[in-house]
Symmetry: C2
Subunit: 195 residues, 2 copies
């Protein structure tokens, strides 16, 4: 693919991400995205085989961006593992604030619409959650090794509990347009960790 | 309004609820609903002033149905307050299972779409969450009076934590099409209550 094509493809993905995180798949017409990027409708299929393939590229792009963000906090050994989780939440909070709480989590948004999306997205979205949970689980296991949480704690189940609740908190923060639900979620989660 | 009109109005709300809990507001065309109920498009405005007013009626209808379901468990003094919360979760679980995990929570679904919905829905949805949380809070306060949870617990914050996480769990259960996320959420929430 020529350089210019690569750029247009990347811009389509970026614009798709923006619309999808704000509005979800159904409300986001491909038309809006093409118009924004300035690509004639006829040439969309030059870049992506289908709307489904385009959506998949947007989702995968977001998943790897987000995994990097998670790692930048959860693997930062300058802080204890519990603090690292708090730092991730702070980072996500300022991200949401920057966009006036209009953007949620793409994977969470699409998860809500999954029954009207291409069926192949279901497993894709589940796998992304499992990947993110694995990163939280590893961090909780470190906390356990450092005796910050009890030996009896099931870190895999706690990591799923974290991620399920986190998605709920992001969704509520979009609704209330403030960070309070994120703060309260974090506080209660940390307080509830078995010591 | 004549009897027949009342029935058609109620049937429009019922059908709207079904589509909205499965697909959300944007994906649900009014057309589909009218077709299902067998109402000619021209006569929709005989029943509702606008699509917005129709959506509001559907939401309010769901909110009061759900408040009654909550009360039937949370006010049942045959069981201790913690058990009552478990019974509500069991009830919701069997409801989701009955619909093959295709239906989520209407209020949660619409909360995700709120930025593309009529602006008046934002406060309406928030008020409904606050109402439901209040019912959980009252139940947790009873648990506190019975020394089932610690005196220092902030039941209001715990109730918000419950509801935020619950919506996340319902959303994940729709995605994974099984009850595991609901079970894990309940288990971790109960385990994390301050004793």
């Amino acid at each position: 693919m020529a350089r210019e094509n690569q750029d247009t493809r990347a811009e389509l993905i970026r614009s798709g991400l923006e619309l999808l995180t704000e509005q979800g798949f159904f409300a986001s017409g491909i038309d809006k995205i093409l118009k924004k990027v300035g690509v004639p409708k006829g040439s969309f299929y030059h870049y992506f085989a289908s709307k489904e393939a385009f959506g998949r590229a947007v989702i995968e792009n977001y998943a790897s961006y987000f995994a990097n963000k998670l790692d930048s906090h959860l693997l930062n050994t300058n802080f204890d593992p519990i603090q690292r989780i708090c730092h991730f939440v702070e980072d996500a909070k300022s991200g949401m604030r920057k966009h006036q709480f209009k953007r949620g989590c793409l994977v969470g948004n699409l998860g809500q619409e999954v029954d009207v999306l291409p069926e192949s997205y279901r497993q894709l979205l589940l796998d992304i959650f499992i990947d993110w949970q694995g990163r939280i689980e590893a961090c909780l296991l470190e906390a356990q090794q450092q005796n910050l949480i009890a030996k009896k704690a099931n870190c895999q189940r706690l990591a799923e509990f974290f991620w399920v609740g986190w998605e709920g908190a992001v969704s509520r923060a979009r609704l209330s347009q403030d960070a309070r639900p994120l703060d309260n979620f974090l506080l209660q989660f940390i307080d509830g960790l078995p010591r």
